[in-house]
């Protein structure tokens, strides 16, 4: 996945996210905030699943399923872009 656009997002600690390119703003919960911040510093998907497991004490399958769903959502909102149809 291409996270170039995601790296431009202005992310506040309270979960308010502003996209300076489009003017859209979003709210994310604690987990969403954690994921966005890790993606901004370039963490790979597998490492991110491990980090979610450790941070939120969930199973690996649970973390992977929820992350896939979240990344699909970010892709559909054009916040990150799939490369060759893949967001992994």
């Amino acid at each position: 996945m291409d996270t170039k656009k995601l790296k431009n997002l202005a992310i506040s600690e309270n979960g308010f996210v502003f996209d300076p390119e489009t003017g859209y703003s979003y709210h994310v919960n604690q987990t969403g905030l954690f994921v966005l911040k890790q993606l901004q510093v370039g963490m790979a998907k597998n490492a991110l699943i491990d980090a979610i497991v450790e941070e939120f004490e969930v199973t690996h399958d649970h973390a992977q399923s929820d992350l896939d769903h979240y990344l699909s959502m970010l892709n559909s909102m054009s916040i990150l872009e799939a490369i060759d149809g893949s967001i992994s």
Binding site: A10, F18, P20, T22, G23
Partner: protein
Amino acid sequence: MEAYLKGLDITIAVSGLKTGDNPQPGVPVIRSIRNAGFTGKIIGLVYDAMESGIYCHDLVDEVYQMPYPSTGVDSFMARLDYILSNSKIDVIIPTLDSEVMLYIRMEDELRSRGIHTFLPTEDQFLLRDKIKLSQYFPPRGVDIPQTFVVQDIAQIMELKDRIDFPIIIKGKLYEAYKAHNFDEAFKFFYELESKWGLPIIIQRIVVGDEFNIVLIGDGKGGICGMVPQRKLVITDKGKGFGGVVVSNPGLDAFAVKVISELKWQGPCELELIKGIDGKYYLLEINPRFPAWVRLAEGAGQNLPAITVLLALGKDFDPLPAYRAGTLFIRHAEDIVSDVSILGEISVKGELVINKEVKK
């Protein structure tokens, strides 16, 4: 905040002091000029005694009622000569679409009286006309939503195989409506015709994100300052009552392209849309500052103050990059005043508010 106008001992006249549900740009233009350290005299030029800026405290020093632009150059100039017999004017910033052409045509006479403006040429002004826009720009690589100019409703019927509803129907000067079928299209055609005359503009709706850009063209194809925003709050009249500054290289490049083709001189507002096809489409070019121009000041580019310097031919350092994320929300507030002020401006057509400011 840069004090661009500090110590400048001049008189600046600004028109369009009405605020409210369809605000004019004069009040925010004056606020930005004051915020640039300007302590000289500001004259408000109004068309109506109920323009709310007349009643704002500490906004203008003097107010003069003007004849409507439709009365022509002679009556306008005669009124300005009267004002000049009371007070000098060094710079005029017109802020209403309907008067810009008049000021363009009066430029030489104004200059001979020591009055400076920073406006486009008549040709530039006419090229951004809603009717000309769709003819001038597409051959030059600037996309416009598919547009048809019609003179009667039969011509709308003739478009039945070429347009898909809903469509936008625009008056030649102001107002636009969304029509979902031919019946609505005919209704809006007659409404717009009765208000603004013919022709009427039919435009395909482009789905996407709308943006507005305030800028000053240097008259040579360059831009002296530019701030783009996306409207966050839109009233039922389509007016932006809230917005946020965006930073989008594609948007900036589009504005640069439009102005390089038009070689626009002076302030203007671009209305455009980024379609879901990823292309930018130019919707309109308004030939004056928008009412939200204080957002530019807030984002680091005081464009009204720069216009004063440009009118006077004064140099200034390149403006800083605008700050994306700067936000405005329009706030309506009641002004409490006295009926004697209304009486003064209604009866005499002029009002001296601040007698301390030197003439």
